[in-house]
């Protein structure tokens, strides 16, 4: 039944990424250790998804599989309907601040992936992203001359400069102090709202997940499984004292099995 008019159809978000039955085990001392068990996950185009789970549950492993750095023991990841077979410049992985190249300046780092562009276009993009992440005046500085937060912003700028459609962030703010962390979350949201990339963000911080994500995938301890997916139905900017925020946060606390009183 082909219909030429689609007025009645509600605009559904198209699926960007689909992970199907992902399992992963590592062998250690000759013994196979399961790290991920039957992970199924769907991420919509332009969505901000947080992977939340205790340390060692396999979040980084899952993100590396999704990014194509690791092959799963079984299962597959499809992005735009294509099976992921390796890393791809359309999807950039942001490591912790250690990921910037220390032998390149800020400009060199941001321009790293832009080798196919003309010089003028490259310079234009570098200037644009230096400004976007607030590193004006540091273009000629080396990473060793930057603070942790600046290095982190630099890495985000390097990722955005190649105009990827997905960003994978593995605890990108984990090494920062709590004030810088809050500021960086705000900046990431601002960039996300401006560019609408699909983002998968790994964290073990419940507040961070509820502040940032459209949906939070809560993982169990190793072997990691997806326990629950929580919809964060609060519009941005989020009031972190609102009843709904606290309710969702409490829900996740209970899901993970944490008590409220220390």
């Amino acid at each position: 039944m082909e219909s030429t008019v689609a007025i009645t159809a509600t605009p559904t978000v198209e699926t960007k990424l689909r992970a199907e039955h992902i399992s992963m085990s590592f062998t250690r001392d000759g013994e196979s250790m399961p790290v991920l068990e039957d992970i199924n996950l769907e991420v919509g185009n332009g969505e901000f998804l947080c992977l939340l789970g205790p340390s060692g549950c396999g979040k980084s492993t899952l993100l590396s599989i999704i990014a194509g750095f690791l092959s799963p023991t079984s299962g597959e990841v499809k992005i735009d309907g294509e099976i992921v077979r390796g890393p791809d410049p359309r999807r950039i992985f942001v490591f912790q601040e250690r990921g910037v190249f220390p032998w390149l300046t800020v400009e060199g780092n941001i321009g790293f992936g832009l080798f196919k562009l003309t010089r003028a276009e490259r310079d234009r993009r570098i200037a644009h992203y230096i400004k976007m992440v607030g590193l004006e005046g540091f273009g000629k500085s080396y990473p060793s001359e930057l603070s942790g937060g600046m290095k982190q912003r630099l890495e985000v700028a390097r990722a955005l400069a190649v105009n990827p459609d997905m960003l994978f962030l593995d605890e990108p703010f984990g090494a920062l102090d709590s004030i810088t962390r809050l500021i960086m979350r705000g900046e990431l949201l601002r960039i996300w709202e401006a560019e609408r990339k699909t983002i998968i963000f790994v964290t073990h911080d419940i507040d961070e997940a509820v502040q940032l994500a459209d949906r939070v995938a809560v993982m169990s301890a190793r072997p990691g499984r997806i326990q629950e997916i929580v919809n964060i139905d609060i519009p941005h900017p989020r009031d972190i004292n609102s009843a709904r925020y606290l309710e969702l946060r409490t829900g996740i606390f209970n899901q993970i099995g944490l008590a409220h009183h220390l």
Binding site: P89, I92, F95, G99, W103, L104, Y142, S144
Partner: protein, 221 residues
């Protein structure tokens, strides 16, 4: 023992006979060739071996077996193969530089943090570009340190080699001055020259470490 003035006199003596420049050039010539040849062969080989874990496992026993043999122990074989002359001395210097440089290169590759390689692959670099834009800059600081230390070794070995395998150069000067009438002023003058040139070589290599894009690893952490 000669007085300091005697040594100065010896230096003047050497200069006036044109021997000072001649011997210094002869020694530097051998060091340059031996050292450069070793660097050209050992560094690419070491980087390749370090990159492939299997290659390292295969080569390691051989490297560890040959490495502790002093280059001076090769002197008789060098003379047998190359005769008494420049070639023997260059071969000995080559040997003395080859293994330290090989090991430096192997370790430098193995120490590259995986995040740099992964980031390079993520941005879609071809294998050649990955070598040129990630692997090479990541290993340069360690290589420079290795080259500096190795050049010092080469300078030690050239003097020893010249005492036996050739008849020019600063090492030869020392042996010859003693044999030809116990001219200890010339012996000490030769020692002073060796020390001085060693110092200059080290200063030259250190200035490489100051190049900013090479310097990153020294300022990190």
């Amino acid at each position: 023992m000669p007085s300091p003035w005697g040594v100065v006199g010896g230096l003047v003596d050497l200069t006036s006979h044109g021997l000072l420049v001649k011997y210094v050039v002869a020694s530097l010539f051998r060091v340059t060739w031996g050292f450069t040849l070793a660097a050209i062969l050992a560094i690419p080989l070491g980087l390749t071996i370090g990159w492939y874990r299997r290659a390292e496992m295969a080569f390691n026993p051989l490297i560890q077996f040959l490495r502790p043999i002093s280059p001076l122990a090769w002197i008789p074989i060098a003379i047998l193969w190359f005769g008494v002359g420049d070639l023997s001395a260059i071969f000995l210097i080559f040997l003395s530089c080859f293994f330290p440089l090989l090991l430096t290169a192997i370790n430098a590759v193995r120490n590259i943090p995986a995040v740099y390689i992964n980031a390079g692959r993520n941005f879609g670099l071809s294998p050649g570009a990955l070598v040129y834009r990630v692997l090479y800059p990541a290993v340069v600081p360690q290589l420079i340190v290795g080259l500096r230390i190795t050049l010092g070794i080469a300078w030690l070995v050239v003097v020893a080699a010249e005492m036996i395998a050739v008849n020019s150069g600063l090492g030869f000067l020392i042996v010859d001055a003693r044999n030809a009438g116990n001219r200890y002023d010339l012996v000490v003058a030769g020692m002073v020259l060796i020390g001085l040139i060693g110092l200059l070589l080290d200063i030259g290599m250190r200035s490489l470490e100051k190049v900013k894009s090479f310097r990153w690893s020294y300022s990190e952490e």
